[in-house]
Symmetry: C2
Subunit: 271 residues, 2 copies
């Protein structure tokens, strides 16, 4: 609910992240983009591409090293992921959106210096050319200029260090960073789309979807071991985003973008 | 010389094209970009990348087919050139320019629908996914918006057909198209940078550089067989650009960008 006493009502924006599984399947991707196109209001798309990058690494004989589920990015791998994410996937998405009149522009974080990042420290684990962006350094002026001209930014998960090096960056983190940065200018909703219905009470039962969750409810679920594994960092970052000014975060299946059925993460007072 | 009676003096813009040889050599590229950064006034960079694409094709086992010096672009080759041109080369150039504070943005013709193109007819020769852009369809409004915000567009040689397909496009043609399209808004200079000094009277004598040429002088050189081979289409397109409103075209070595020593193509009245 909007606070009726609010002096200025901010315009809404949706920041939508899709993962590598949707991107890798041409049918899923076209169906998703058709839905994304219909999403009303200002919007930004952030895409992954790890599945395709891993396939291409095999074709090129480049060894993929993962530590704790994250790709180690040496110089060859940086070139590979930049080609796959910023090249083929990003421009293909732009061309498909343009086909139906959605005025998309494909961007990396290096373009117009929109998302500068710090190269991650090699201690305790050296992930190589990997970037950690800071919401406070996002070029929101240029982004607003694009959005106010009805242009739809499409971001791949590549940033740069402002010192000449591109950096491989987690796509969830890009979506988080943009959402937090834009929350001072817009009423921001962050939508994480993936291949599951949302957060489930029982991972084996798709009917056990948790429809909404506050941070204190999240902590209770954690204590009860209802939430575990890979969902923990996603929820942790999502509640951080809400603490930093994002209005709400939705975690949902890519097929549900328009009906927005999924798990809705909201601030403690429900706003 | 400017016409003093001109009611409104247009602002100048330089549209600089560099070829695949400069792009493929890290030392040449960094040196060139350092010069490009120092070039005063509004500017756009257009880059090739064919040398790197041909190398990557070998690594991926993709056969390169050339007909009359032009690449045949099947579906696999389109993916390859989009990865190499729009991905690695384009974003690497952007990161290197950003390093020294030049606010570059990397673009394909699909982005913000800046350069729509027609897929070339398969008759008499089927070049596959190859695009021929039309200057009249360039999105000059969005480009002007970028330029007026002191952003430097960096274009790779990829366009789209507005129907969901990306198209491989000759980089010289991209530079020509942008120059002609922008000549209604700006006093436009088109600079073709490559590995030779310019147009030579004697290809074996680097001291035989022709410093300037009008279209009628060009025709005389043609009649005298002074100009031949690959230089003919470049000059033909350059004089077309001048006929379409571009102020001048320079053909020169990439090392001479700042002193602008090369062959200067000008309109018949020298303006």
């Amino acid at each position: 609910m909007h606070n009726l006493d609010s002096p200025i009502q901010k315009e809404a924006i949706s920041i939508v992240k899709i993962g590598g599984d949707v991107v890798d399947n041409p049918v899923s991707l076209e169906s998703f983009l058709s839905d994304f196109q219909k999403l009303e209001g200002k919007k930004i798309l952030v895409h992954g591409g790890g599945v395709m990058a891993s396939k291409m690494a095999i074709d090129l004989g480049i060894k993929t090293t993962m530590i704790q589920g994250r790709r180690v990015t040496d110089a060859e791998t940086l070139k590979l992921v930049t080609m796959v994410y910023a090249g083929w996937i990003n421009k293909r998405i732009v061309a498909l959106l343009q086909k139906n009149g959605c005025n998309a522009i494909g961007l990396s974080g290096a373009d117009a210096n929109i998302i500068p990042a710090n190269k991650r420290s090699p201690y305790p684990i050296d992930y190589g050319y990997v970037g950690d962006p800071l919401p406070g350094k996002v070029n929101t002026g240029f982004l607003s200029n694009l959005l106010n001209n009805d242009i739809v930014p499409v971001f791949c998960a590549i940033t740069h260090d402002e010192n000449g090096s591109l950096l491989n960056t987690n796509a969830d983190t890009i979506a988080y960073t943009l959402s937090v940065a834009l929350s001072s200018l817009f009423k921001t909703t962050l939508l994480y789309c993936f291949e599951k219905e949302g957060v489930l009470r029982d991972v084996n039962n798709p009917n056990s979807l948790i429809l909404s969750m506050t941070k204190s409810e999240y902590k209770e679920y954690l204590d009860q071991n209802i939430i575990a594994g890979g969902m923990i960092p996603k929820l942790h970052n999502s509640f951080n985003a809400i603490d930093e000014g994002v209005s709400e975060v939705l975690i949902m299946h890519a097929d549900n973008l328009l009906n927005q059925k999924g798990t809705r993460l909201i601030s403690e007072n429900g706003e």
